[in-house]
Amino acid sequence: MIHMENVVKTYRVARRNAGAKAAFKALFRREYQEIRALDSISLDISEGEIVALLGPNGAGKSTTIKILSGILYPDSGIVECNGFVPYKERMRYTREIGVVFGQRTQLFWDVPVADSFELLKDIYDISEQTFQENQQELTELLNLQELLRTPVRQLSLGQRMRCEIAGSLLHSPKILFLDEPTIGLDAVSKLAVRQFINRLNEEKHTTVILTTHDMQDVEALSKRVIMIGKGRLLLDGTIDDIRKEGESLDESLVEFYQGIEGLGKEEKS
Protein backbone atom coordinates (compact mmCIF):
# COMPACT_ATOMS: atom_id res chain seq x y z
CA MET A 1 0.00 0.00 0.00
CA ILE A 2 2.84 2.35 0.87
CA HIS A 3 6.22 2.02 -0.71
CA MET A 4 9.23 4.26 -0.12
CA GLU A 5 12.57 3.54 -1.69
CA ASN A 6 15.79 5.44 -1.06
CA VAL A 7 13.94 8.65 -0.34
CA VAL A 8 16.15 11.64 0.31
CA LYS A 9 15.08 15.06 1.47
CA THR A 10 17.41 17.91 2.32
CA TYR A 11 16.70 21.37 3.66
CA ARG A 12 18.90 24.36 3.20
CA VAL A 13 19.43 26.34 6.35
CA ALA A 14 21.10 29.75 6.52
CA ARG A 15 23.79 29.83 9.16
CA ARG A 16 25.79 32.63 10.63
CA ASN A 17 27.69 33.39 13.79
CA ALA A 18 26.13 35.48 16.50
CA GLY A 19 26.76 39.21 16.65
CA ALA A 20 26.39 42.38 14.62
CA LYS A 21 29.45 41.88 12.47
CA ALA A 22 28.35 38.47 11.30
CA ALA A 23 24.84 39.78 10.72
CA PHE A 24 26.20 42.56 8.52
CA LYS A 25 28.36 40.16 6.59
CA ALA A 26 25.36 37.93 5.99
CA LEU A 27 23.65 40.78 4.18
CA PHE A 28 26.05 40.30 1.33
CA ARG A 29 27.00 36.72 1.54
CA ARG A 30 24.90 34.00 3.05
CA GLU A 31 26.24 30.71 4.17
CA TYR A 32 23.96 27.80 3.88
CA GLN A 33 24.17 24.39 5.31
CA GLU A 34 22.40 21.41 3.85
CA ILE A 35 20.51 19.43 6.43
CA ARG A 36 19.63 15.93 5.44
CA ALA A 37 16.19 15.37 6.92
CA LEU A 38 15.83 12.01 5.22
CA ASP A 39 18.87 10.08 4.18
CA SER A 40 17.81 7.26 1.93
CA ILE A 41 14.75 5.89 3.68
CA SER A 42 13.10 2.74 2.37
CA LEU A 43 10.04 1.11 3.81
CA ASP A 44 6.88 -0.76 2.93
CA ILE A 45 3.58 -0.70 4.74
CA SER A 46 0.64 -2.92 3.88
CA GLU A 47 -3.03 -2.20 4.04
CA GLY A 48 -4.61 -2.34 7.47
CA GLU A 49 -1.41 -1.88 9.45
CA ILE A 50 -0.92 0.52 12.32
CA VAL A 51 2.65 1.77 12.22
CA ALA A 52 4.29 4.06 14.72
CA LEU A 53 7.17 6.24 13.60
CA LEU A 54 9.52 6.90 16.47
CA GLY A 55 12.62 8.98 16.85
CA PRO A 56 13.98 11.98 18.71
CA ASN A 57 12.96 15.52 17.75
CA GLY A 58 14.29 16.44 14.36
CA ALA A 59 14.83 12.85 13.33
CA GLY A 60 12.74 13.09 10.18
CA LYS A 61 9.42 11.64 11.33
CA SER A 62 7.33 14.62 10.32
CA THR A 63 9.20 14.93 7.05
CA THR A 64 8.37 11.31 6.32
CA ILE A 65 4.70 11.88 7.06
CA LYS A 66 4.68 15.02 4.95
CA ILE A 67 6.22 13.26 1.99
CA LEU A 68 3.79 10.37 2.33
CA SER A 69 0.83 12.73 2.50
CA GLY A 70 1.81 14.63 -0.61
CA ILE A 71 2.80 17.86 1.12
CA LEU A 72 6.53 17.77 0.48
CA TYR A 73 8.51 16.82 -2.59
CA PRO A 74 11.40 14.44 -1.93
CA ASP A 75 14.72 15.27 -3.57
CA SER A 76 15.10 11.77 -4.91
CA GLY A 77 13.77 8.26 -4.40
CA ILE A 78 10.53 6.48 -5.15
CA VAL A 79 7.31 7.07 -3.23
CA GLU A 80 4.10 5.29 -3.98
CA CYS A 81 0.97 5.25 -1.86
CA ASN A 82 -2.17 3.42 -2.81
CA GLY A 83 -1.21 3.54 -6.48
CA PHE A 84 -0.36 7.24 -6.48
CA VAL A 85 2.80 9.23 -6.41
CA PRO A 86 1.65 11.53 -3.60
CA TYR A 87 3.49 14.74 -4.46
CA LYS A 88 2.77 14.47 -8.18
CA GLU A 89 -0.90 13.61 -7.96
CA ARG A 90 -1.66 15.60 -4.87
CA MET A 91 -5.19 16.65 -5.82
CA ARG A 92 -6.38 13.10 -6.48
CA TYR A 93 -4.30 11.37 -3.86
CA THR A 94 -5.35 13.59 -0.96
CA ARG A 95 -8.98 12.55 -1.43
CA GLU A 96 -8.02 9.14 -0.13
CA ILE A 97 -6.09 10.11 2.93
CA GLY A 98 -6.86 11.78 6.22
CA VAL A 99 -4.32 13.87 8.07
CA VAL A 100 -4.15 15.16 11.62
CA PHE A 101 -1.29 17.34 12.80
CA GLY A 102 -1.49 17.44 16.56
CA GLN A 103 0.12 20.85 16.80
CA ARG A 104 -2.10 22.60 14.28
CA THR A 105 -5.77 22.82 13.58
CA GLN A 106 -7.75 22.25 10.44
CA LEU A 107 -10.96 23.55 11.98
CA PHE A 108 -12.00 27.16 11.72
CA TRP A 109 -11.35 28.99 14.90
CA ASP A 110 -14.34 31.31 15.00
CA VAL A 111 -17.18 29.08 13.87
CA PRO A 112 -18.86 26.00 15.33
CA VAL A 113 -17.26 22.66 14.53
CA ALA A 114 -20.27 21.63 12.46
CA ASP A 115 -19.56 24.48 10.01
CA SER A 116 -16.03 23.22 9.49
CA PHE A 117 -17.40 19.74 8.86
CA GLU A 118 -19.85 21.08 6.29
CA LEU A 119 -16.96 22.73 4.50
CA LEU A 120 -14.94 19.52 4.56
CA LYS A 121 -17.93 17.82 3.01
CA ASP A 122 -17.69 20.11 0.00
CA ILE A 123 -13.91 20.04 -0.16
CA TYR A 124 -13.88 16.25 -0.42
CA ASP A 125 -17.07 16.04 -2.48
CA ILE A 126 -18.71 13.74 0.05
CA SER A 127 -22.23 12.69 -0.86
CA GLU A 128 -24.96 13.80 1.53
CA GLN A 129 -25.68 10.24 2.58
CA THR A 130 -22.09 9.24 3.27
CA PHE A 131 -21.52 12.50 5.08
CA GLN A 132 -24.52 12.02 7.37
CA GLU A 133 -23.61 8.41 8.11
CA ASN A 134 -19.99 9.20 8.81
CA GLN A 135 -20.74 12.23 10.88
CA GLN A 136 -23.25 10.33 12.95
CA GLU A 137 -20.93 7.41 13.50
CA LEU A 138 -17.96 9.59 14.38
CA THR A 139 -20.11 11.71 16.68
CA GLU A 140 -21.11 8.62 18.61
CA LEU A 141 -17.70 7.02 18.75
CA LEU A 142 -15.84 10.18 19.70
CA ASN A 143 -18.58 11.63 21.86
CA LEU A 144 -19.00 14.85 19.95
CA GLN A 145 -22.72 15.51 20.45
CA GLU A 146 -22.19 18.54 22.64
CA LEU A 147 -19.22 19.83 20.71
CA LEU A 148 -20.53 20.17 17.18
CA ARG A 149 -22.29 23.43 17.89
CA THR A 150 -19.45 25.00 19.86
CA PRO A 151 -16.97 27.39 18.26
CA VAL A 152 -13.57 25.77 18.02
CA ARG A 153 -11.81 28.38 20.11
CA GLN A 154 -13.92 27.42 23.11
CA LEU A 155 -13.03 23.74 23.01
CA SER A 156 -10.46 22.19 25.28
CA LEU A 157 -7.47 20.60 23.62
CA GLY A 158 -8.84 17.10 24.17
CA GLN A 159 -12.21 18.04 22.75
CA ARG A 160 -10.57 19.74 19.82
CA MET A 161 -8.40 16.76 19.05
CA ARG A 162 -11.42 14.48 18.95
CA CYS A 163 -13.04 16.89 16.51
CA GLU A 164 -9.87 17.05 14.41
CA ILE A 165 -9.79 13.28 14.15
CA ALA A 166 -13.44 13.16 13.21
CA GLY A 167 -12.85 15.86 10.62
CA SER A 168 -10.07 13.90 9.00
CA LEU A 169 -12.27 10.82 8.64
CA LEU A 170 -15.47 12.27 7.20
CA HIS A 171 -14.49 11.23 3.70
CA SER A 172 -13.66 7.64 4.70
CA PRO A 173 -9.95 7.80 3.86
CA LYS A 174 -7.98 4.63 3.24
CA ILE A 175 -4.90 5.91 5.00
CA LEU A 176 -4.84 8.05 8.12
CA PHE A 177 -1.74 10.03 9.06
CA LEU A 178 -1.50 11.20 12.64
CA ASP A 179 1.36 13.48 13.55
CA GLU A 180 1.54 13.50 17.35
CA PRO A 181 -2.18 13.02 17.89
CA THR A 182 -1.93 12.74 21.65
CA ILE A 183 0.39 15.68 22.30
CA GLY A 184 -0.80 17.66 25.30
CA LEU A 185 -3.82 15.50 25.98
CA ASP A 186 -4.89 14.32 29.43
CA ALA A 187 -5.08 10.64 30.29
CA VAL A 188 -8.78 10.31 29.56
CA SER A 189 -8.55 11.93 26.15
CA LYS A 190 -5.48 9.90 25.25
CA LEU A 191 -7.30 6.74 26.09
CA ALA A 192 -10.31 7.78 24.04
CA VAL A 193 -8.15 8.58 21.04
CA ARG A 194 -6.27 5.29 21.26
CA GLN A 195 -9.41 3.22 21.60
CA PHE A 196 -10.93 4.97 18.69
CA ILE A 197 -7.93 4.43 16.43
CA ASN A 198 -7.84 0.74 17.24
CA ARG A 199 -11.51 0.41 16.53
CA LEU A 200 -11.23 2.26 13.24
CA ASN A 201 -8.42 -0.01 12.19
CA GLU A 202 -10.29 -3.18 13.12
CA GLU A 203 -13.63 -2.25 11.62
CA LYS A 204 -12.63 -0.35 8.50
CA HIS A 205 -9.12 -1.63 7.94
CA THR A 206 -7.87 1.90 7.70
CA THR A 207 -4.10 1.99 7.49
CA VAL A 208 -2.81 4.24 10.26
CA ILE A 209 0.60 5.85 10.38
CA LEU A 210 1.38 7.89 13.43
CA THR A 211 4.27 9.69 15.03
CA THR A 212 4.42 10.08 18.75
CA HIS A 213 6.73 10.52 21.68
CA ASP A 214 4.39 8.69 23.98
CA MET A 215 5.41 5.09 24.43
CA GLN A 216 2.03 4.22 25.85
CA ASP A 217 0.52 5.21 22.52
CA VAL A 218 2.84 2.78 20.85
CA GLU A 219 2.07 -0.01 23.27
CA ALA A 220 -1.65 0.49 22.95
CA LEU A 221 -1.75 0.91 19.21
CA SER A 222 0.89 -0.53 17.05
CA LYS A 223 2.41 -3.89 16.53
CA ARG A 224 4.92 -2.39 14.18
CA VAL A 225 7.44 0.26 15.09
CA ILE A 226 9.72 2.12 12.73
CA MET A 227 12.54 4.07 14.31
CA ILE A 228 14.12 6.96 12.49
CA GLY A 229 17.16 8.89 13.64
CA LYS A 230 19.23 11.46 11.77
CA GLY A 231 17.16 10.79 8.70
CA ARG A 232 17.92 7.09 8.60
CA LEU A 233 15.87 4.04 9.26
CA LEU A 234 17.29 2.45 12.36
CA LEU A 235 14.81 -0.21 13.23
CA ASP A 236 11.78 -1.79 11.69
CA GLY A 237 10.24 -4.21 14.08
CA THR A 238 8.04 -4.42 17.12
CA ILE A 239 8.06 -2.65 20.41
CA ASP A 240 9.78 -5.66 21.95
CA ASP A 241 12.86 -4.92 19.88
CA ILE A 242 13.33 -1.74 21.86
CA ARG A 243 12.34 -3.00 25.27
CA LYS A 244 15.05 -4.30 27.53
CA GLU A 245 14.56 -6.46 30.56
CA GLY A 246 14.02 -4.67 33.82
CA GLU A 247 13.70 -1.19 32.30
CA SER A 248 10.73 0.94 31.51
CA LEU A 249 10.08 1.53 27.85
CA ASP A 250 11.04 5.17 28.16
CA GLU A 251 14.41 4.24 29.65
CA SER A 252 15.10 1.79 26.87
CA LEU A 253 14.16 4.42 24.35
CA VAL A 254 16.53 6.96 25.86
CA GLU A 255 19.37 4.49 25.52
CA PHE A 256 18.40 3.90 21.94
CA TYR A 257 18.33 7.60 21.20
CA GLN A 258 21.70 8.13 22.84
CA GLY A 259 23.06 5.52 20.47
CA ILE A 260 21.81 7.62 17.56
CA GLU A 261 23.80 10.64 18.70
CA GLY A 262 26.98 8.91 17.63
CA LEU A 263 25.68 8.45 14.11
CA GLY A 264 26.25 10.68 11.14
CA LYS A 265 28.86 12.88 12.82
CA GLU A 266 31.33 12.33 10.04
CA GLU A 267 29.01 14.10 7.61
CA LYS A 268 28.89 17.47 9.27
CA SER A 269 30.17 20.02 6.80
Binding site: Y11, R12, A14, N57, S62, K66, S69, G70, I71, L72, Y73, Y87, R90, M91, R92, T94, R95, I97, V99, F101, Q103, R104, T105, Q106, F108, D110, V111, D115, E118, L119, D122, I123, Y124, D125, F177
Partner: protein, 267 residues
Protein backbone atom coordinates in the same frame (compact mmCIF):
# COMPACT_ATOMS: atom_id res chain seq x y z
CA UNK B 1 -15.70 24.93 -7.95
CA UNK B 2 -18.28 24.11 -5.32
CA UNK B 3 -15.69 23.67 -2.61
CA UNK B 4 -14.24 27.10 -3.20
CA UNK B 5 -17.68 28.60 -3.14
CA UNK B 6 -18.54 26.94 0.19
CA UNK B 7 -15.27 28.14 1.56
CA UNK B 8 -16.03 31.62 0.29
CA UNK B 9 -19.44 31.53 1.98
CA UNK B 10 -18.02 30.40 5.28
CA UNK B 11 -15.37 33.12 5.24
CA UNK B 12 -17.99 35.68 4.35
CA UNK B 13 -20.09 34.68 7.33
CA UNK B 14 -17.05 34.82 9.55
CA UNK B 15 -16.07 38.24 8.26
CA UNK B 16 -19.44 39.71 9.03
CA UNK B 17 -18.89 39.19 12.75
CA UNK B 18 -16.47 42.01 13.32
CA UNK B 19 -18.69 44.99 14.05
CA UNK B 20 -16.39 47.14 16.13
CA UNK B 21 -13.70 47.07 13.47
CA UNK B 22 -16.30 48.17 10.95
CA UNK B 23 -17.43 51.11 13.08
CA UNK B 24 -13.88 52.25 13.63
CA UNK B 25 -13.18 51.94 9.93
CA UNK B 26 -16.23 53.98 8.99
CA UNK B 27 -15.32 56.77 11.35
CA UNK B 28 -11.87 56.96 9.82
CA UNK B 29 -13.26 56.99 6.32
CA UNK B 30 -15.71 59.84 7.00
CA UNK B 31 -13.00 61.92 8.52
CA UNK B 32 -10.52 61.11 5.78
CA UNK B 33 -13.08 61.82 3.04
CA UNK B 34 -13.90 65.26 4.38
CA UNK B 35 -10.26 66.08 4.90
CA UNK B 36 -9.34 65.19 1.32
CA UNK B 37 -12.23 67.16 -0.08
CA UNK B 38 -11.25 70.27 1.89
CA UNK B 39 -7.66 69.91 0.75
CA UNK B 40 -8.59 69.59 -2.91
CA UNK B 41 -11.04 72.45 -2.53
CA UNK B 42 -8.21 74.72 -1.47
CA UNK B 43 -6.33 73.82 -4.67
CA UNK B 44 -9.46 74.35 -6.72
CA UNK B 45 -10.04 77.80 -5.24
CA UNK B 46 -6.56 78.93 -6.13
CA UNK B 47 -6.86 78.00 -9.81
CA UNK B 48 -10.00 76.24 -11.13
CA UNK B 49 -8.59 76.11 -14.68
CA UNK B 50 -5.64 74.00 -13.68
CA UNK B 51 -7.92 71.39 -12.11
CA UNK B 52 -7.93 68.24 -14.26
CA UNK B 53 -11.34 66.95 -13.15
CA UNK B 54 -14.69 68.52 -12.51
CA UNK B 55 -14.83 69.21 -8.79
CA UNK B 56 -18.01 67.20 -8.30
CA UNK B 57 -16.43 64.26 -10.15
CA UNK B 58 -13.48 64.43 -7.79
CA UNK B 59 -15.78 64.55 -4.76
CA UNK B 60 -17.60 61.45 -6.01
CA UNK B 61 -14.26 59.76 -6.60
CA UNK B 62 -13.19 60.43 -3.04
CA UNK B 63 -16.44 59.32 -1.45
CA UNK B 64 -16.60 56.12 -3.46
CA UNK B 65 -12.98 55.49 -2.66
CA UNK B 66 -13.66 55.84 1.06
CA UNK B 67 -16.84 53.75 0.92
CA UNK B 68 -15.18 50.91 -1.00
CA UNK B 69 -11.76 51.28 0.60
CA UNK B 70 -11.68 47.65 1.66
CA UNK B 71 -12.18 46.42 -1.87
CA UNK B 72 -9.20 48.19 -3.34
CA UNK B 73 -6.51 48.85 -0.79
CA UNK B 74 -3.30 47.14 -1.71
CA UNK B 75 -2.22 46.80 1.90
CA UNK B 76 -5.04 44.64 3.22
CA UNK B 77 -3.53 41.16 3.50
CA UNK B 78 -4.99 38.06 4.99
CA UNK B 79 -3.01 37.47 8.17
CA UNK B 80 -3.96 33.81 8.28
CA UNK B 81 -2.28 33.24 4.97
CA UNK B 82 0.80 35.22 5.93
CA UNK B 83 1.27 33.36 9.19
CA UNK B 84 0.54 30.10 7.45
CA UNK B 85 3.35 30.81 5.03
CA UNK B 86 5.81 31.74 7.72
CA UNK B 87 5.04 29.06 10.31
CA UNK B 88 4.33 26.07 8.13
CA UNK B 89 0.56 25.90 8.63
CA UNK B 90 0.40 25.22 4.92
CA UNK B 91 0.53 21.53 5.74
CA UNK B 92 -3.20 21.23 6.14
CA UNK B 93 -3.93 23.21 3.00
CA UNK B 94 -1.67 20.98 0.96
CA UNK B 95 -2.95 17.76 2.49
CA UNK B 96 -6.35 18.35 0.96
CA UNK B 97 -7.63 18.18 -2.58
CA UNK B 98 -7.67 21.94 -3.01
CA UNK B 99 -5.71 24.35 -5.12
CA UNK B 100 -3.87 26.88 -3.00
CA UNK B 101 -4.50 29.60 -5.53
CA UNK B 102 -8.27 29.21 -5.69
CA UNK B 103 -8.59 28.69 -1.98
CA UNK B 104 -6.64 31.83 -1.14
CA UNK B 105 -8.34 33.84 -3.83
CA UNK B 106 -11.73 32.87 -2.40
CA UNK B 107 -10.49 33.72 1.07
CA UNK B 108 -9.34 37.21 0.11
CA UNK B 109 -12.44 37.87 -1.91
CA UNK B 110 -14.64 36.91 1.03
CA UNK B 111 -12.61 38.99 3.44
CA UNK B 112 -12.80 42.11 1.32
CA UNK B 113 -16.47 41.71 0.47
CA UNK B 114 -17.48 41.19 4.07
CA UNK B 115 -15.45 44.16 5.22
CA UNK B 116 -16.76 46.41 2.48
CA UNK B 117 -20.35 45.27 3.00
CA UNK B 118 -20.22 46.31 6.63
CA UNK B 119 -18.82 49.73 5.79
CA UNK B 120 -19.95 51.10 2.46
CA UNK B 121 -23.65 51.85 2.96
CA UNK B 122 -23.44 54.47 5.75
CA UNK B 123 -20.57 56.25 4.03
CA UNK B 124 -22.45 56.47 0.74
CA UNK B 125 -25.64 57.56 2.48
CA UNK B 126 -23.99 60.46 4.24
CA UNK B 127 -21.95 61.38 1.17
CA UNK B 128 -25.12 61.70 -0.90
CA UNK B 129 -26.58 64.08 1.68
CA UNK B 130 -23.54 66.36 1.64
CA UNK B 131 -24.40 69.42 -0.51
CA UNK B 132 -23.08 69.75 -4.06
CA UNK B 133 -20.31 69.85 -5.21
CA UNK B 134 -18.77 68.40 -2.06
CA UNK B 135 -20.93 65.31 -1.82
CA UNK B 136 -21.44 62.18 -3.88
CA UNK B 137 -23.38 62.92 -7.07
CA UNK B 138 -25.77 60.37 -8.50
CA UNK B 139 -24.37 58.45 -11.47
CA UNK B 140 -24.88 60.20 -14.79
CA UNK B 141 -27.17 57.47 -16.10
CA UNK B 142 -28.17 53.88 -15.31
CA UNK B 143 -25.64 52.91 -18.01
CA UNK B 144 -22.86 54.59 -16.06
CA UNK B 145 -23.98 52.81 -12.92
CA UNK B 146 -23.92 49.46 -14.69
CA UNK B 147 -20.45 50.07 -16.13
CA UNK B 148 -19.32 51.23 -12.71
CA UNK B 149 -20.48 47.99 -11.11
CA UNK B 150 -18.89 45.80 -13.79
CA UNK B 151 -15.55 47.57 -13.60
CA UNK B 152 -15.77 47.59 -9.81
CA UNK B 153 -15.88 43.80 -9.85
CA UNK B 154 -13.03 43.64 -12.38
CA UNK B 155 -11.01 46.09 -10.30
CA UNK B 156 -11.58 44.03 -7.16
CA UNK B 157 -10.50 40.83 -8.88
CA UNK B 158 -7.44 42.57 -10.26
CA UNK B 159 -6.52 43.88 -6.81
CA UNK B 160 -6.79 40.40 -5.34
CA UNK B 161 -4.82 38.83 -8.17
CA UNK B 162 -2.09 41.34 -7.39
CA UNK B 163 -2.10 40.30 -3.73
CA UNK B 164 -1.92 36.69 -4.81
CA UNK B 165 1.38 37.50 -6.50
CA UNK B 166 2.69 38.85 -3.23
CA UNK B 167 1.54 35.77 -1.33
CA UNK B 168 3.26 33.72 -4.00
CA UNK B 169 6.50 35.65 -3.60
CA UNK B 170 6.21 35.41 0.19
CA UNK B 171 6.43 31.65 0.01
CA UNK B 172 9.98 32.06 -1.24
CA UNK B 173 11.13 34.16 1.67
CA UNK B 174 11.67 33.69 5.34
CA UNK B 175 10.01 37.01 6.05
CA UNK B 176 7.84 38.76 3.55
CA UNK B 177 7.40 42.07 5.38
CA UNK B 178 9.90 43.93 3.19
CA UNK B 179 8.53 43.02 -0.17
CA UNK B 180 4.98 43.36 1.05
CA UNK B 181 5.36 46.88 2.37
CA UNK B 182 7.38 47.96 -0.65
CA UNK B 183 5.04 46.62 -3.32
CA UNK B 184 1.89 47.70 -1.47
CA UNK B 185 3.12 51.26 -1.19
CA UNK B 186 4.21 51.45 -4.80
CA UNK B 187 0.85 50.11 -5.91
CA UNK B 188 -0.97 52.45 -3.56
CA UNK B 189 0.67 55.37 -5.30
CA UNK B 190 0.33 54.05 -8.85
CA UNK B 191 -3.30 53.02 -8.54
CA UNK B 192 -4.60 56.44 -7.60
CA UNK B 193 -5.27 55.67 -3.95
CA UNK B 194 -3.29 58.70 -2.84
CA UNK B 195 -3.79 61.10 -5.74
CA UNK B 196 -6.30 60.32 -8.52
CA UNK B 197 -4.47 59.57 -11.78
CA UNK B 198 -5.80 62.64 -13.69
CA UNK B 199 -3.71 64.80 -11.37
CA UNK B 200 -0.45 63.38 -12.69
CA UNK B 201 1.38 65.24 -15.51
CA UNK B 202 0.21 64.09 -18.92
CA UNK B 203 3.26 62.07 -19.90
CA UNK B 204 3.43 60.27 -16.58
CA UNK B 205 -0.29 59.68 -16.68
CA UNK B 206 -0.08 58.11 -20.12
CA UNK B 207 2.27 55.46 -18.76
CA UNK B 208 0.42 55.02 -15.48
CA UNK B 209 -2.82 54.32 -17.29
CA UNK B 210 -1.28 51.39 -19.12
CA UNK B 211 -0.14 49.72 -15.91
CA UNK B 212 -2.21 47.12 -14.09
CA UNK B 213 -2.48 49.45 -11.13
CA UNK B 214 -4.74 51.77 -13.16
CA UNK B 215 -7.31 48.99 -13.47
CA UNK B 216 -7.94 48.72 -9.76
CA UNK B 217 -9.90 51.69 -8.40
CA UNK B 218 -9.08 54.27 -11.02
CA UNK B 219 -11.36 52.81 -13.68
CA UNK B 220 -14.63 52.23 -11.81
CA UNK B 221 -14.39 55.40 -9.74
CA UNK B 222 -13.89 57.60 -12.78
CA UNK B 223 -16.48 55.85 -14.92
CA UNK B 224 -19.09 56.52 -12.26
CA UNK B 225 -18.86 60.27 -12.59
CA UNK B 226 -18.30 60.27 -16.33
CA UNK B 227 -14.70 61.43 -16.01
CA UNK B 228 -13.59 58.39 -17.97
CA UNK B 229 -15.67 57.74 -21.07
CA UNK B 230 -15.60 56.93 -24.77
CA UNK B 231 -12.56 55.29 -26.34
CA UNK B 232 -10.40 55.90 -23.28
CA UNK B 233 -12.91 53.99 -21.18
CA UNK B 234 -13.05 51.04 -23.58
CA UNK B 235 -9.28 50.88 -23.61
CA UNK B 236 -9.21 50.98 -19.80
CA UNK B 237 -11.67 48.10 -19.51
CA UNK B 238 -9.79 45.98 -22.03
CA UNK B 239 -6.57 46.60 -20.09
CA UNK B 240 -8.31 45.61 -16.87
CA UNK B 241 -9.26 42.26 -18.36
CA UNK B 242 -5.86 41.65 -19.94
CA UNK B 243 -3.99 42.41 -16.72
CA UNK B 244 -6.37 40.26 -14.74
CA UNK B 245 -5.53 37.30 -16.97
CA UNK B 246 -1.82 37.97 -16.76
CA UNK B 247 -1.86 38.26 -12.98
CA UNK B 248 -4.00 35.18 -12.44
CA UNK B 249 -1.79 33.04 -14.64
CA UNK B 250 1.40 34.37 -13.08
CA UNK B 251 0.00 33.82 -9.59
CA UNK B 252 -1.08 30.26 -10.41
CA UNK B 253 2.38 29.45 -11.69
CA UNK B 254 4.04 31.04 -8.71
CA UNK B 255 1.98 29.09 -6.20
CA UNK B 256 2.24 25.83 -8.12
CA UNK B 257 5.95 26.28 -8.04
CA UNK B 258 5.76 27.05 -4.34
CA UNK B 259 3.98 23.76 -3.72
CA UNK B 260 6.97 21.98 -5.19
CA UNK B 261 9.59 23.79 -3.22
CA UNK B 262 7.65 24.11 -0.03
CA UNK B 263 9.79 24.06 3.05
CA UNK B 264 7.49 23.77 5.99
CA UNK B 265 8.92 25.37 9.01
CA UNK B 266 8.33 24.43 12.58
CA UNK B 267 7.82 20.66 12.49
Amino acid sequence: MKKYFSFFKLRLQMGMQYRVAALAGMATQFFWGFMLIFAYHAFYESNPDAFPMEFSALASYIWLQQAFLMLFTTWRFDNDILSMISDGGLSYELARPVSLYRMWFAKNLAMRLSEATLRFAPVLLVAILVPKPYGLSLPKSPWHLLLFLVTLVLGLLLTISFLMLIYGLSTRMLSSTGIRVFLSSVMEFLSGQIIPLPFFPDKVRFVLELLPSAGMQNVPLRIYSGDLSGAAMVRAIVLQIVWLFVFVIAGELLLRNAEKRAVLQGG
